[in-house]
């Protein structure tokens, strides 16, 4: 179809409408807020999406409904903001100017000391307050995974989150609720399906109008950086000062945000965020719940996508090991043509994936588990939450009525230059009885599959030993023995 064109993006910032043109392709939301708009309540703590001092809310219409999510402004690119509502701490107080329920609870519970992380924490807790009327400690901790505080030890902040929940958000006490209908209308009007092209001396930003337009842009600009959540690309900008132009934003494309489930499995559009994927994915694979809640922090899960995690091909990405173990496939598109290949084959070697110039990841299909299958995924990291895996192992074993292993798929991240299957260990299991002795043989076989490296996350020795021990954990779990430490055991079932 023919597209209308624009040369500026339009969005809401707090209570104003903003139209921006001619900005750099690598302009971050944080720099724009602080340097251009002088909204200095939002802080820079790390400029890599880990500390959360820059947390702001971004509202967007999703399936007709306006909802707000926390994001890291430091790694969010301004070009991705078309038809959104950006809300900073300056706009989180009550419509009458008083402190919001969250802000008041933070004051009453002594939730700030140095105060530098506080605006980001207030933003994160505000999003939770809007979304969850009765948050559990687990909910609060999950919401705060992406917010570092070095002063308080978090205890008063968690208490503040609980205390704030006693107040129900309404139009009198919250500006976002008060303006909900008006904002919905404004954003709906802004999302006109036009292609936006922003020219700047450092390069061009494209915001495609729809999926076909994306395909056309990718073909026309095969070297473009495709940006979904910018949780990786943001760091290329802030840490490496890499030239990323031209940039094509895809985070807004409805067609890439589709999730479909049938008996065969689940299909995730490449633009589905971790947060959006969680419900459907965990419904099909409850074993993924823990891993999913340990990917990045809440802000990163709101921004980042499974498609991006795959397309960037990191050897320590959290999603490829379980997806490979489950036999997932990836569908790529170039222009009007598609091809589908096993995910395991997509990763060629470190830093190299089977993606042609002009091609982009469109969707991922994950086949459902057979009824008698055992499946588990384990992430090992120095810190439990918001850390990058030292290693991540996924195990998928099917046994027959006699207890013989008919199929074994094991994949690890962090053990090689790419997420990789454990061919020797799989061979040691297949055709053998599902028993302690078989597991011991498979453990030893892992040493043939991987030669891990030593780095700051773990030594080679620890990686190998733990990978082998995870085989034991998996076996014990299939026997029904509880062998994991769970911080909130009652909730793990939910």
């Amino acid at each position: 179809m023919a597209h209308t064109h624009r040369t500026s993006i339009r969005f809401r910032l707090n209570d104003q409408t903003v139209e921006l043109a001619g900005f750099a392709p690598d302009l971050t939301l944080l720099d724009w807020l602080r340097l251009d708009r002088r909204l200095t309540g939002t802080k820079e703590g790390c400029a890599e999406g880990d500390c959360g001092a820059c947390t702001v809310l971004v509202g967007r219409i999703d399936n007709g409904l306006l909802s707000y999510e926390t994001v890291n402004a430091c790694i969010r690119l301004v070009g991705s903001l078309d038809a959104t509502h950006v809300v900073t701490v300056e706009h989180l107080n009550r419509p009458d100017g008083g402190l919001s329920a969250v802000q008041q609870a933070m004051v009453d519970n002594h939730g700030s000391q140095c105060g530098f992380c506080t605006p980001g924490i207030v933003a994160s807790l505000h999003a939770l307050w809007l979304a969850e009327p009765n948050p559990s400690e687990a909910d609060i901790e999950r919401q705060l995974q992406g917010n570092l505080c070095r002063c308080t030890g978090y205890e008063p902040i968690v208490k503040a989150a609980i205390a704030a929940a006693a107040t129900i958000p309404d139009a009198d006490n919250d500006r976002l609720v008060a303006a909900y209908d008006a904002t919905t209308e404004a954003l709906t009007e802004m999302a006109d399906g036009a292609r936006v092209t922003i020219e700047h001396e450092r390069g061009t930003t494209f915001v495609p109008g729809d999926l076909d337009d994306l395909a056309a842009l990718c073909e026309a600009h095969p070297k473009a950086t495709i940006v979904a959540g910018s949780t990786d690309v943001g760091l290329w900008v802030t840490k490496h000062m890499r030239d990323i132009a031209p940039v094509i934003h895809i985070g807004h494309l409805e067609e890439l945000k589709q999730i479909s489930i049938d008996d065969a499995g689940i299909t995730l559009g490449a633009g589905v965020s971790y947060t959006s994927a969680r419900g459907a994915l965990v419904a099909v694979f409850p074993q993924m719940a823990e891993l999913w809640d340990r990917i990045g922090g809440e802000q990163v899960r709101n921004m980042g996508t499974v498609g991006g995690n795959i397309a960037n091909g990191s050897p320590i990405g959290d999603t490829p090991p379980p997806l490979i173990a489950l036999g997932a496939s990836v569908t790529l598109r170039k222009g009007g043509s598609h091809r589908t290949l096993p995910l395991a084959d997509f990763f060629i070697e470190y830093g190299k994936q089977d993606r042609q110039p002009g091609e982009f990841v469109e969707s991922i299909f994950v086949p459902a588990l057979a009824e008698d299958a055992f499946f588990a995924v384990y992430k090992i990291s120095k810190r439990r939450d918001e850390d990058i895996s030292a290693l991540c192992g996924a195990f998928h074993v099917i046994t027959d009525a006699e207890g013989m292993v008919t199929s074994a798929r094991i994949a690890f991240g962090g053990m090689a230059g790419t997420p990789k299957r454990a061919a020797s260990a799989e061979a040691a299991l297949t055709g053998q009885p599902w028993s302690w002795d078989t597991i011991q043989a498979a453990r030893l076989a892992l040493a043939d599959d991987y030669q891990p490296l030593s780095d700051w996350r773990a030594s080679a020795q620890y990686r190998m030993l733990t990978a082998q021990n995870l085989m034991i954990r998996f076996f014990l779990e299939t026997c029904g023995a509880p062998v994991r430490i769970e911080r909130h055991p009652a909730l793990a079932e939910a």
Binding site: E90, V107, P119, R383, I485
Partner: protein, 790 residues
Amino acid sequence: MDTSTPRSRTEISGGAHVSRKHDSAHKHVTGSADYIDDMPEPAGTLHGYLGLTDRAHARITALDLDAVRACEGVVAVLTGADVPGSNDISPSGRNDEPVLATGKVLFHGQPVFAVIAETRELARRAAKRAVITYEDLPHVTDVRAAMDANYPLVTDPLKLERGDIEAGLAAAPLRLKGEMRIGGQDHFYLEGHIAFAIPGEDDEVTVWSSTQHPSEVQHMVAHALGTVSNAVTVQVRRMGGGFGGKETQSNQFAAIAAIAAKKLNRPVKIRPDRDDDMIITGKRHDFVVDYDVGYDESGVIHAVDASFAARCGFSSDLSGPVTDRALFHADNCYFYQDVRLVSKPMMTNTVSNTAFRGFGGPQGMLGGERMIEEVAYALGRDPLEIRKANFYGGETRNMTPYHQTVEDNIIGRIVEELETSSDYQARRAEIIDFNENSPVIRRGIALTPVKFGISFTATWYNQAGALVHVYQDGSIHLNHGGTEMGQGLNTKVAQVLAEEFQVDLDTIRITATTTGKVPNTSATAASSGTDLNGMAAANAAQQIKTRLVAFASEKFSVPAEQVEFIPNHVRIGNELMAFGDFIKLAYQARIQLSAAGFYKTPDIHWDRASGKGRPFYYFAYGAAVSEVSVDTLTGEYQVDRVDVLHDTGRSLNPALDIGQIEGAFVQGMGWLTTEELWWDDKGRLRTHAPSTYKIPLASDRPKIFNVKLADWAENREPTIRRSKAVGEPPFMLPISVLEALGMAVASIADYQVSPRLDAPATPERVLMAVERLKALVADAEMSGEDGADA
């Protein structure tokens, strides 16, 4: 002040000993508290960025900065040669720390030049364009390797000695030796370093600096500019965290910003990226402790011979007093009959390590607690029993290794109360039972005490000033030499002042710390902020009150003792007057309503050469019980429950004190668990951002966290309203976490072998400790021996 509110005559709002919110809490939560990077920039402001070396140790053979100068927006490029005064910011006076390195670089990441450009981004991009040629030299990053390579010491070592160590060790019935490795720690203040210099007339310059030590920044800036201190004004309203990381480390940024501002006659701001901040600035010292302990079958320690070697980095900075303080705390709460403690402040090709909450004390104390743990496991006893058997107490067991008598000991009562309130004994028994029947998950529990010495060991630092103005309308302006970094110092000092004048807290306005108002201040460090500045503010108030009493007495012809400051009012004989009205009268009578207060800590002295004295005015005490679970397949763990009982004397503000304790606990727990500094073979620090350096999250805090103040405690010394310092002492409470992890590991060998879990106890270190014990058990079974043997 808001005079429309009726003021109480019976009680002031916000006096001493009550919980009050942080004075900036409202601004924190609304984003309206300004940090230096939030201040409006004057027209013409330039931005600096530092160029860092990528060598750990090398001679610079050529420094080509032409490409940097040619970059868009670049206004100037500075090197060490552009420093108009002295190219030195060493706080130790040893002249070993350049503003910008010249000739040689001594650690990977040392700043070599500074780019000044129209924007920060342009400066940062330009800084990448330098071409520096080097002749590499051998480098050493590890403490043990530095000792093996006979690397020099960065400063004079200290020896503390009492009794006859050789005889004591020889006579002890039992003896053990070992080594403990203790990792360092990055401060990870959320607000990174920043300095903003605004040039003035002549040689004057004003520097806004995120610093705990404005007077030293003032001195260093003057030194680097080649001028005198009265030309330099340093200001700080608040920091986004400090923790010791902004005691001396602000000097470099402030000096470069000031040099550039004076050279270019334009305002200059410097703010490094987080990664650069972590690479450029010093951290907590890593230590290797070698110990030799003589003890007996009852667990009483007879003799301790220990050395504390520290990774000091390329220069001395504060490494002398830091390693001294490690020795001062190696005894913790325990009496050693014969003792010799020596420090080894090793030079290494790493960033120069610096102050960090506890200032070496935590590492010293951890070494001491390791020795207790070793004795306990060697005897097959609960470490708590060994602790109690060695506590200071009684006439003959009260002398520290530095010959100060422990006079205010309350650790016995604290531990006893905590042991009961936490149900320690029953829980320990239950855990031992649990472990017997749990093949993979093991649990541990530990109770550890803290005794921490309060005062700067540099005795002259124990002084402070304050400046108090009472204006005609009765509103009060408070300024003091301390700096606010989140600890609530300003709130506490304002409470002290409110109590003195008997006015509501909101009568008092707290103002930015500036060297122009209170001179020659000490760093806000060593937990001393409230002790020193609170006393100085009280002194200022007392001076003004003395004048006011004399005035009232004369004017109303009443005896001085009939003039009384009561809540928000003054009683003069039978007359009652609102405070503001009274002040107006005093003003009209030309009474001076302003005073500079001063305080110096009495009764302390320290002779470093002989290792004897009374370096500490008093001790702060506390104890914690921690319980953990450990996965013996992966080394993963969690902290299930923590109970703390801590002594803050008569707390000035219980809510703020509990906040300090909780925050210190979690920060200390991070130091001992997930926070790991990792250098590669090129001498590069690879954990230099939150993506790679992992401080605790909300989901790492103890799942159950009970923190109580010892509300019966009172400082026996006449400190400010009998309170005690609180910033650092609770940082050492989480030694109980490390030891609880150790107990879970030790369960593998039935608690008969010391787990020797080094810090930080990452999941990897925990698993490797498990593996060591498993191997010992397997060996013992193979050889048919009964039990394992270390």
